[in-house]
């Protein structure tokens, strides 16, 4: 049996714009992934805890609030503290190029910006997992 890719789609912080997160979640489901959706307004701690218990391969964070430079490092740090660095972190949202470079350096694997086609995201995830 082919290993199922499990991914957690999270909306950290107070940002309520869940259109992108939901579209991505539906697209990933339609690509055969098991998608854990944690809902809105999540603490970084809850997202990391959920990712560990669900044994996901990837955490995908959607951040449109401008808080990305606080939240991504926090998630990476928590994963490290909990010995869960094997979980890959990717993201999407309103994030300037300059910040993307910094986030990639910190250990975020990939950032998608508005307009990224869902099939590109699916293809990317499959390519890094298999």
């Amino acid at each position: 049996m082919e290993k199922k890719i499990r991914i957690l789609i999270g909306k950290p912080g107070l940002d309520g714009h869940d259109r992108g997160a939901k579209v991505i979640a539906a697209a990933l489901r339609d690509a055969g992934f098991e998608v854990i959706y944690t809902g809105l307004h999540q603490l970084s701690e809850s997202i990391v805890e959920a990712a560990i218990q669900e044994d996901v391969d990837i955490i995908g964070l959607s951040i449109l609030s401008g808080a990305h430079m606080t939240i991504f490092p926090k998630i990476l740090d928590l994963l490290k503290q909990k010995n869960a660095e094997h979980i890959i972190v990717i993201g999407g949202g309103i994030i300037p190029e300059e910040d993307i470079k910094k986030l990639l350096k910190m250990g975020v694997k990939r950032i998608f910006t508005p307009g990224a086609p869902t099939n590109e995201i699916v293809y990317y995830i499959k390519s890094i997992i298999h």
Binding site: K3, K4, E34, V35, I36, E49, I52, Q53, N83, A84
Partner: protein
């Protein structure tokens, strides 16, 4: 073996990984290893139609189960899309209050092709949580609208949740409800129609001929406001006590084990048949012949049976 030790210590990463291996069938030895350490948890099933508030109810009862430093494992099952094989697992949204509790472990499972209320591996995943020292294991079924009988084959106490709006759906599933419900809950009990539904279900339970000394209680809750939750939890606990005192817990668990062993034997035979006995190419040829009405299906079966018996 260190993995087993970590598992027994309830290390969350180890538990999570073990569940994945059980779910994917990638480590057949694992279940063997953990089995001696299981049998200590009490299994509670939560089932009911979509929109009945199953996840909210779990979110509400678990804090009470956690009292006295108990540990609770939760398995929430959601359907796999038959078209893509993917699944959207969203039950955690409702359980956010529990997300950071040290003594809670929540795992979402997709049905992966199973047709009932559970995934085919849910029982094995529950064993992992059992071995990891959970005192209670709460299993929430898919909730596809029909009664999911498989839950009762796993759980010691099965709670069926209905809402006043389930109205028509209930008629179709009444027989099933009566069969599996140790406890019946009418959630969103503040809505109109709740009391009528309770009366209706009471009547149905009374009509049913039964020789049991457990009189299936019907409770009213409003899970999101925490109303009726204390009573539900104490009813679950008195059902547990009832099973223990009457010796039924042992009888029923042996029945469940028998059922499980039979299931596994069948699975084993089936996979043996398909892998070693039946020559797929030859079968295809025979099917072609049967399609042309040159041989009969019975003839094919006899041919295959010859190889076994």
């Amino acid at each position: 073996m260190t993995n087993l030790q970590n598992l027994l210590k309830a290390d969350k990463i180890t538990i999570a990984r073990a569940i994945t291996q059980v779910e994917n069938g990638t480590d057949p030895k694992l279940l063997e290893e953990i089995f001696p350490h299981t049998g200590n948890a009490y299994y509670i099933g939560i089932t009911g139609p979509p929109g009945a508030g199953k996840s909210s109810l779990v979110n509400a009862i678990v804090p009470k189960l956690l009292e006295n430093n108990k540990k609770v494992g939760i398995i929430a099952v959601d359907p796999t899309s038959p078209f893509s094989g993917g699944a959207l697992l969203g039950d955690r949204i409702r359980m956010n209050d529990l997300a950071l509790n040290e003594n809670v472990f929540i795992r979402s499972m997709a049905t992966r092709g199973s047709l009932g209320g559970l995934a085919s591996k849910t029982k094995d995943v529950a064993l992992v949580l059992d071995a990891a020292g959970m005192d209670y294991i709460v299993i929430e079924t898919v909730g596809v609208g029909q009664v999911e009988l498989d839950i009762a084959q796993v759980c010691d106490t099965t709670v069926v949740v209905l809402v006043p709006e389930s109205g028509d759906a209930i008629q179709a599933m009444k027989a099933g409800i009566l069969e599996v419900a140790d406890i019946l809950v009418v959630n969103k009990g503040d809505r109109s129609g709740a009391d009528r539904l309770i009366l209706e279900m009471k009547f149905a339970f009374e009509l049913r001929a039964h020789n049991t000394d457990w009189h299936n209680p019907i409770l009213k809750t409003t899970a999101i406001e925490n109303i009726g939750i204390d009573e539900l939890v104490s009813t679950i606990k008195s059902h547990k006590e009832h099973l223990e005192k009457s010796g039924k817990l042992e009888i029923e668990r042996k029945n469940k084990l028998t059922l499980r062993v039979n299931e596994l034997i069948e699975e084993r035979i089936k996979s043996h048949l398909h892998e070693y006995v039946i020559d797929q190419k030859q079968l295809k040829k025979m099917i072609d012949k049967a399609y042309e009405r040159k041989i009969t299906p019975q003839y094919i079966i006899d041919e295959i049976a010859k190889k076994i018996f």
